[in-house]
C-alpha cells in the first residue's frame, strides 16, 4: 500500500507544459509511474505515440530523467538493450548506480506492432517494467482501431456507418498473453486509483526480472467524453468489470478491486461518443454481446483468483 504523505515527498520527474490534451490519461500514468519510483534512478523508453510526441517536442522535454524514444514497435527491445548495457557496464565497474528500467508503449505499440519485441524481451528475462498505457486505439495518428479496441467502438478505420457498427471483433487479452510468458509480475491497473497503480508499479520494480502492467487509460479525444471525466470513466470500467484490476504475482492471481455491486456495461458505454451508435435500438445485440463477454471473462477471472490459480 502506498502512503500519500510519503509519496508527496517524492520528486516530480515529469513536468507540466507538455502538449497532451487536457484530461489525457497518459500524462497521469507517466506522472504516477515516476512518483512510484520515488528516488530510484530510472531510465525510460517509449514507443512512438501520443505520450512520446507530446512530451519531447525538440528542443523541449517534459522528462527530468533519462528518456529515450527510438521507434514505434521497439520500446521493449530498446529497453532491453539499455538494460543489457547497464549489466555489462556495471559488471565492469564502469557504473555504480542502481538503476531501474521502464518501457512505455501505447496499445498500438504493444498489442499490435510491438508485440513481438515485447514478447522477446520478456522471454529473455531482462529486469525491466513494461507499461502499456492502453487507450484502446491509435490516438496519435487519429483514432484508428487496434487489437485493444473493444467490440462496437467507433474508430476511424473501423467506423460506425450504415452497414457496419464499429469494430466487429472483441479485443485481444494481452494481459493473459503476458501472464503466459511466466514472468514474475503482471498486472492490470486503471487511471483513477493512484493507490492501486502506484502499489503495482512499486511491486513491479522490486521483482528481479521482467514485469508488465496494462493500465486502462482513457483518451478524451478518441473516446469522446468530457475531459474532467477521465478518472470517473476509468473507475466505471472497473465497476462494470469491463476492465478488472488484478495482478498475477509469481503465477498467483489476485483481484485487487472487487466492485461492491457489478454495474451493467451500459453505464460505462453511455458517456462515450465512441459507443453512441450502439444505443440505437437495432444495435442492442452488440451491447448484449459486450455484456456477455464481460460476464464470461469476469467469471473466469474470479475462478482463477479464488482457486489461487497458478498461471
Amino acid at each position: 500500500m502506498a502512503n500519500l504523505k510519503e509519496l508527496s515527498k517524492n520528486p516530480e520527474r515529469v513536468t507540466g507544459g507538455h502538449r497532451l490534451c487536457a484530461g489525457c490519461g497518459a500524462g497521469i500514468v507517466a506522472r504516477q509511474t515516476l512518483i512510484a519510483a520515488g528516488n530510484t534512478p530510472v531510465v525510460l523508453t517509449s514507443a512512438t505515440g501520443c505520450l512520446e510526441v507530446s512530451t519531447t517536442v525538440f528542443p523541449y522535454t517534459a522528462w527530468k530523467t533519462p528518456f529515450f524514444h527510438s521507434a514505434f514497435e521497439n520500446s521493449a527491445a530498446t529497453c532491453s538493450g539499455i538494460e543489457t548495457a547497464y549489466r555489462s557496464l556495471k559488471k565492469q565497474g564502469k557504473i555504480s548506480d542502481d538503476i531501474r528500467f521502464i518501457a512505455f508503449g501505447g496499445d498500438g505499440g504493444t498489442y499490435d506492432i510491438g508485440l513481438q519485441s515485447l514478447s522477446g524481451a520478456m522471454e529473455r528475462g531482462h529486469r525491466m517494467l513494461y507499461i502499456c498505457y492502453n487507450n484502446e486505439a491509435y490516438m496519435n495518428t487519429g483514432i484508428q482501431r487496434s487489437g485493444a479496441t473493444p467490440l462496437g467502438a467507433h474508430t476511424t478505420t473501423a467506423p460506425a456507418g450504415k452497414a457496419r457498427q464499429g469494430k466487429e471483433q472483441h479485443r485481444k487479452n494481452l494481459t493473459e498473453i503476458m501472464i503466459a510468458h511466466g514472468i514474475p509480475y503482471v498486472a492490470q491497473a486503471y487511471v483513477g486509483n493512484w493507490n492501486d497503480y502506484i502499489t503495482k508499479v512499486q511491486k513491479a520494480l522490486s521483482v528481479d526480472g521482467p514485469s508488465f502492467i496494462n493500465i486502462f487509460t482513457p483518451c478524451r479525444l478518441g473516446w469522446n467524453y468530457k475531459p474532467e471525466d477521465t478518472m470517473p470513466l476509468a473507475r466505471l470500467a472497473v465497476e462494470t468489470c469491463v476492465w478488472p484490476s488484478y495482478e498475477v504475482e509469481n503465477g498467483v492471481y489476485k483481484i485487487n478491486v472487487t466492485p461492491k455491486e457489478k454495474k451493467p456495461v451500459t453505464e460505462f458505454l453511455k458517456p462515450q461518443g465512441r459507443f453512441k451508435h450502439l444505443f440505437k435500438p437495432e444495435n442492442a445485440h452488440i451491447i448484449e454481446a459486450i455484456q456477455k463477454e464481460v460476464d464470461m471473462k469476469w467469471e473466469l477471472l474470479q475462478r482463477k483468483a479464488s482457486a489461487g490459480c497458478q498461471a
Binding site: 533519462p66 528518456f67 524514444h69 538493450g81 543489457t84 557496464l89 548506480d97 522477446g120
Partner: protein, 401 residues
Amino acid sequence: MIKTVYPKGKIAAKTGNEVMAEAMRQIEPDVVAAYPITPATEIVQIFSQFVADGIVKSEYVAVESEHSAMSATIAASAAGARAMTGTSSQGLALMWEMLYIASGLRLPIVMAEVNRALSAPINIHGDQSDTMGARDSGWIQIYSENSQEAYDNMIQATKIAEKAKLPTLVTTDGFIISHCMEVVETYPDADVKAFVGEYKPERYLLDIKKPYTLGSIDLQDYYFEHRYQLAQAMKDSQNVILEVAKDFEKTFGRKYDMYEKYKLDDAELAIVVIGSTAGTAKVVVDALREKGVKAGLLKIRVYRPFPAEMIAKDLANVKAIAVMDRADSCSGTFAPVYSDVVAALYSAGFTVPKVVNYVYGLGGREINTEHITQVYDTLGKIASGKEKPFAGIEYINVRIK
C-alpha cells in the same frame, strides 16, 4: 612460408566469418545483439561461444529479430556501451527503419555485414543488393576484398565510427569471403585493444546525473538542421577514415585508402568494382599487362562516404571505364555504383572517359576471369572507337531469353 607484415602478427587459415568474429573478440564490445541469418550466422555463433566461455566481458543479447537486434544495439549504444551487431540480406532489410535511426542519433555502432542477395526469389548467395539498398541510410560502408581486409576493416571501423559519430558497417561477399578459408594475419589482442582504445561517450543515458531526452520529435524548425549535420558528418568522415588508415598502417603495417588503385596510374582501360571480384579482376589485369594492354583497376573500399573528387581525378585520364555493379537498382537506368562514378566524373568536369555499366553476379552467379577479360576487350574497342559505348546496363553471364 608466409611472412607476417606485423612483427608480432600470427598467420592462420580462417574464413571471413571467423576473422570478423575474431576481430569482435579482440575489440570486446560491451554489448552485441544479433539474430542469425545465412551466411552471417557463424559470426554471431562464434561470438556467443566466446561469451559462453567467459573469454569476453561482452553481454550478448539473442534477440527475436533483426529489427530488435538493431533496436537493442542502438539502445545499448545510446546507453553508453560500445555496441555491435552482425547480419545479412533479409536481416539488413528488416533493420531498414532502424538503420536511419542509428545514424540520425549519431551512434557509433559497428556492424559485420555479409553481402547476400535479397528475396524474392529467396537466395542465400553473395551479391551486394542488401548494403546497396542501405547506401543512403547514413552509415559508413566499408567493403572487403578478402578475409584480411575484413579483419583489418573491423578494427578500423570501431575507431572510425567513434571518431566520426556515425554507424559503420563492414562487409564481406557472402560465401566467397564469409565461408572461404584464407591465410590471414591477426595481431595480438593487446595491440588491437590499444589501437581501438577505450570508448568514452560524450553523453549517455545511463549517466543518471545528467539526464537528457534522446529521440525527440523534431518539427519543421529543427529537423532539417539535424539532417544537414548528419550529411556534413558523413562528408567529414572521409578525413577520419584516412586518418585511421594512416594510424593503422603505422601500427600494423597494412596500407588502406578510400579505394585501391591497381595499375591504374597509366591505364587506358579500367574496371571499377567492389569486393572479392577485384581479386579476380587483378589476375586479368596482370595477364593483359603482359600482353601490353594498359589495363587497370579501381577497387572501392569505402563506398559511403563516396570519395567522388578523388575517384574523378584518378579516372580522368582513362579512355574507357567499366563500372561493375553487383546489385541492380531496378531504376530503368543504371546501377548504383555507376551512377556515383559518372556523377563524380561529370561534376568534376571530366568528360573524356567513356563509361559503361555492367551488372554481374546476382544471387552468387559466377564471375570469372573470362567474363572480366571480355569486359576489357569491349573497353578496348570502345577506347579505340571501334565500338560505341553501349547505353544502359549490360548483364554478364545471364540467360536473357
